[in-house]
Amino acid sequence: MESALPAAGFLYWVGAGTVAYVALRISYSLFTALRVWGLSHEAGVGPRLGEWAGSSQPAEAETQSMSHPSDAVHLPWGQMGSQGLGNQGVHTQPMEMMLHLKQAIEKHMRQLATRHQQQDLVPEDKRPYQAPGEQEALLGNLMYQLVNLLQSGATDGPGLQPSCPSLDVKGDAGGGQWQWAQSSRQPAQPGYQLNDPEATFVSQHLSRRGIDISASYQASFQDYKMYQGDKYHEDENTLGFINLGLSENKLCLDLMTERLSQSDMNVIEDVLLQYPDWSGHPFLREEVARFLTCYCKVPAQLDPENVVVLNGCSSVFSTLAMVLCDPGEAFLTPTPFYGGFVFSSGLYSKIELIPVHLDSESTDANPCPFQLTVDKLERALLESTLAGKKVRGLILINPQNPLGDVYSRDLLEECLGFAKRYNLHVIIDEIYMLSVFDDSVTFHSVLSMESLPDPNRTHVIWGTSKDFGISGFRFGVLYTHNKEVASAVSSFGYLHGISGIAQYKLCRLLQDQEWIDTVYLPTYRSRLQKAHRYITKKLKALGIPFLNRGSGLYIWINLQVYLDPCTFEEELLLHHHFLDNKLMLSRGKTYTCKEPGWFRIVFADKPLRLKQAMYRFYQVLEEQKQRLRVKQLESTQRE
């Protein structure tokens, strides 16, 4: 009996854990679903587009609505008068309700857990093993009721008709997954792209990981999708989304368009149309080596053989993760950090990213907010090793995204030294290296060091997406002294290859040093400076704390005073308030920031759009203040 008990205890915890997990997933899904509901419900206010969904050719309707976005449907709530505000209430109120429900569930689960802890001495056969099942039923029922409640109000609402939620919990590392089962599949609705049915139903055709991939993409990129369908345009769509969430450099599109239209770009040679060398055409790799040697101030000429070019830095990171790590192994990552890495590491390579949390508070040990120190790295490494994790490397982003920090040479050396001591790989993402606009800040590429502590384990990533503002070009570079790593990454060339024609253009672009030095970079940096100055001035006027750094395309801002309580749920709500006003920012949670309330705001956009965006920003914060006041009033009244 005694020997059986620990095992039973373990099984109990598996059960309880499952229930807790299920509850959280349900809450999250419902939360998402509510957003879907809320947003698409709004469509009913415009011309009755919702009816199209029921027409005989729904697919056509969808295409139509995508190519001719109707302004009426896309009115931001803030500009819709009382009707719009009323809707906003409909939208956020259930969401707040949902949050309360979620908190209640969590509390319930905690109580449940304590109760069982106390019951640990109860004989095995008397244990309530049916509990998880019962809990599932109860929770399911609760959620179902809530959905019904909402649906009763949604007369011409979208196709979200969850039948009894099916629970599907998997034990695999990819994480459990549960989806709304939808009885009848309906084509995507016009209007907001959010209510694509794919977000909300179980596929019989995909593998589990296929579903996971789809779902994690939905979760990470639904805002992006929404934006793609409804972009702000000065003349054509003044009510569209302004995207200050996506780190895209839109300041120099005029220069790039002009340069790429020049006649030297348009050469078609046989060799460009044939199967390439999968690590990149030699002419391009030579040019990249020369370019990096020059702009990274490398002491000795870089070797083209150590260059691999792929279609974007995500691909470079993904392949590196594949060849350096086995599934389940981990990389240390100073946090907050670029969320794309989380997404990438989960999709194909299934590696873990261990956050090394940095603090915003300044103390003696932490003189600067979010200061990275080797001490913190060392502690994180120790902790995760003790927890049985196999740490294979360290990811650094320099200039940092989202903080904008530029690492000093000393800090870089210390970090590399640390990595060498523990035989860790270092992946350094230097994708913003030319986007340092403050003259008093000097960027040091890791390639500029006289001697790398561990050249065989140091891998540098760069691309043209940010520094040249051509994210649509799909071009990323790996530079590594390790020939084995370079060739292993090259074997993915088939899957991440770049068109020969694009390779030629890139080569011409990187070759034109005169244009880069005398035209492009000076203009780019002065525009960055100007845009940065504009936004920081506005932020100061609003009394919003932020990190004032001289690099990158974004500012890390602190909106904690607008959250009450200061939780990630509230952060998400505020994020949605921004979205409701057709403004996209990115919130701290997506950078794995440990403190709620931080946002990243991108400023590399045209002055006109920035102005409009800051107006919307201001409006949302005013509304939020109002909301907080009401909340406080209510709570004092209760007391």
């Binding site: 078609i268 199967y275 974007g312 691909s315 594949m322 649509g472 799909r474 084995e484 899957l495 068109s499």
Partner: protein, 502 residues
């Protein structure tokens, strides 16, 4: 049956003791490395992939993960011929003694037409939206154009929908993404063999999906009407065998027109295969990348998209690309058409990693839109040139008394060189392949296509006349030497081709 490492999962705590690892290290290590660098086939030693045996694949100093080593092994072994060729490419003026590549399936006959078309002014447009982050499914203007294009050339009964189109950087990526979203790690697709061998790598690298071969015979038996004929019976048998071995099969890959056989499936056959798949709830991925390269009776070819009432439209996924039909393998453009919205969405979720440049997307849309040029200039000329090149190589083969499959599609001829092998083994086939390479002509041997009979080779004929002539001359030199070797063993030392070896 499997051509791939058996497992990906890391060895549990009870992995082989230190002695066994040491053994592998000191003994088989060298052997294997020598093997790897020699053989262009894709067979891994049986238990590679687990953490123990990977020690064989690389020295202790390796920085790679276990799977990284397997991946690199693939690269080193599979691409050997291709890389040897790249280091010593034939060039009329600069390197006349370089290697002639009759191994890579590329259409080199129409570069003149293509580069003229791609240099026209309508191709040169640069718009800001093309330089920014795209819709990962592909720019809408391109998907619309692809849908129109496929509707027309696949003769689909109803217009295809742009929303069901996903655009990415080549068919390799398509195989990879489909494998990932349709299968769990370790599951499998059925594929009739011989087949285009690179698919093995495509579905394995990220997806860790295996291929179960449906082996086809050169001998015409039973109700078969042609060599290497695929029948539902053979499919059923292969599926049963896989099931009995505990392998979960999730789909079937069809290549039509077939690579390397050049076969074209009749609508009846296609329907049979699709019905088979439907019975067993298998996805069917139809690779139609050679659909416009049918140069004899092009009208006889039927795309799966042309069938009225597909048996299982939600599980039928069609791929096409410009690599072959437009001779632009370097352009990296591939497209998926599927009625299944979930599959399209899941594949699109991965497109962040398989995207292609906006400028190239624009050019592709322009190209596919230009029906006049395609119908009146490009296709007739391309077909005529393919036909002429095919006729030349077929004539040469006949003169040499070499049996081959004469089909009117694709860029290659499936050649039977069994009688030139001293013994019917893959080792002998490999030796012959190496002799060709030593004589500066690159072919692909049957083993890389998982052909179960040693001695078949794929010979690509879609190259310029002067290169073809020289290539065929080099092939002849090797074979004449060989046949004489077989007939009069004593004279083999004095053979011409041997003395040319470096």
């Amino acid at each position: 049956m499997f051509t791939l490492p058996q497992k990906e999962s890391r060895a549990p705590a009870t992995c082989p003791g230190p002695t066994s690892i040491q053994d592998l290290d000191s003994n088989s290590g060298d052997d294997l490395e020598r093997e790897c660098s020699r053989k262009p086939d894709r067979k891994l030693p049986e238990d590679c992939g687990a953490s123990g045996p990977t020690a064989m694949l690389s020295s202790d100093s390796s920085c790679l993960s276990s799977r990284g080593r397997v991946i690199k092994w693939f690269w080193d072994s599979a691409e050997e011929g291709y890389r040897t060729y790249h280091m010593d490419e034939y060039d009329e003026d600069k390197n006349p003694s370089g290697i002639i590549n009759l191994g890579t399936s590329e259409n080199k006959l129409c570069f003149d037409l293509l580069s003229r078309r791609l240099s026209q002014s309508d191709m040169l447009r640069v718009e800001p939206s093309l330089l920014q982050y795209p819709d990962w499914r592909g720019h809408l203007f391109l998907r619309e154009e692809v849908a129109r294009f496929l509707s027309f050339y696949c003769k689909s009964p109803n217009p295809l929908k742009p929303d069901n189109v996903v655009v990415l950087n080549g068919c390799a990526s398509l195989f990879s993404t489909l494998a990932t979203v349709l299968c769990e790690a370790g599951e499998a697709f059925l594929i009739p063999a011989p087949y285009y061998g690179a698919i093995t790598q495509h579905v394995y690298l990220y997806g860790n999906v295996r291929l179960v071969c449906v082996y086809l015979d050169s001998e015409v038996t039973g109700l078969d009407t042609r060599p290497f004929q695929l029948t539902v019976e053979k499919l059923e048998m292969a599926l049963q065998r896989a099931n009995s071995e505990g392998v979960k099969v999730k789909g079937l890959i069809l290549i039509n027109p077939h690579n390397p056989l050049g076969d074209i499936y009749s609508p009846g056959e296609l329907r049979d295969y699709l019905e088979f798949a439907k019975r067993h709830e298998l996805h069917v991925m139809v690779d139609e990348v050679y659909m416009l390269s049918v140069f004899e009776k092009p009208a006889a070819y039927r795309s799966v998209l042309s069938l009225e009432g597909l048996p299982d439209p939600q599980r039928t996924h069609v791929m096409w690309a410009t690599s072959k039909d437009f001779g632009m393998s370097g352009l990296r453009f591939g497209t998926l058409y599927t009625e299944n919205w979930d599959v399209a969405t899941a594949v699109a979720s991965l497109c962040r990693y398989h995207g292609l440049s906006g400028l190239v997307q624009y050019q592709m849309a322009q190209l596919l839109r230009d029906r006049d040029w395609i119908n009146q200039v490009y296709l007739p000329e391309n077909h005529a040139r393919l036909k002429a090149a095919h006729a030349y190589v077929a004539g040469e083969l006949r003169a040499l008394g070499i049996p081959f499959l004469s089909r009117g599609a694709g860029f290659f001829i499936w050649v039977d060189l069994r009688k030139f092998l001293p013994e019917a083994t893959f080792k002998a086939e490999m030796l012959l392949w190496r002799q060709f390479l030593d004589n500066k002509v690159l072919l692909s041997c049957g083993q890389t296509f998982e052909c179960k009979e040693p001695g078949w080779f794929r010979l690509v004929f879609s190259d310029k006349a002067h290169r073809l002539r020289l290539g065929m001359q080099r092939v002849r030199q090797v074979l004449e030497g060989k046949s004489r070797v077989a007939e009069e063993p004593s004279s083999c030392q004095t053979q011409e081709p041997r003395s040319q070896r470096r």
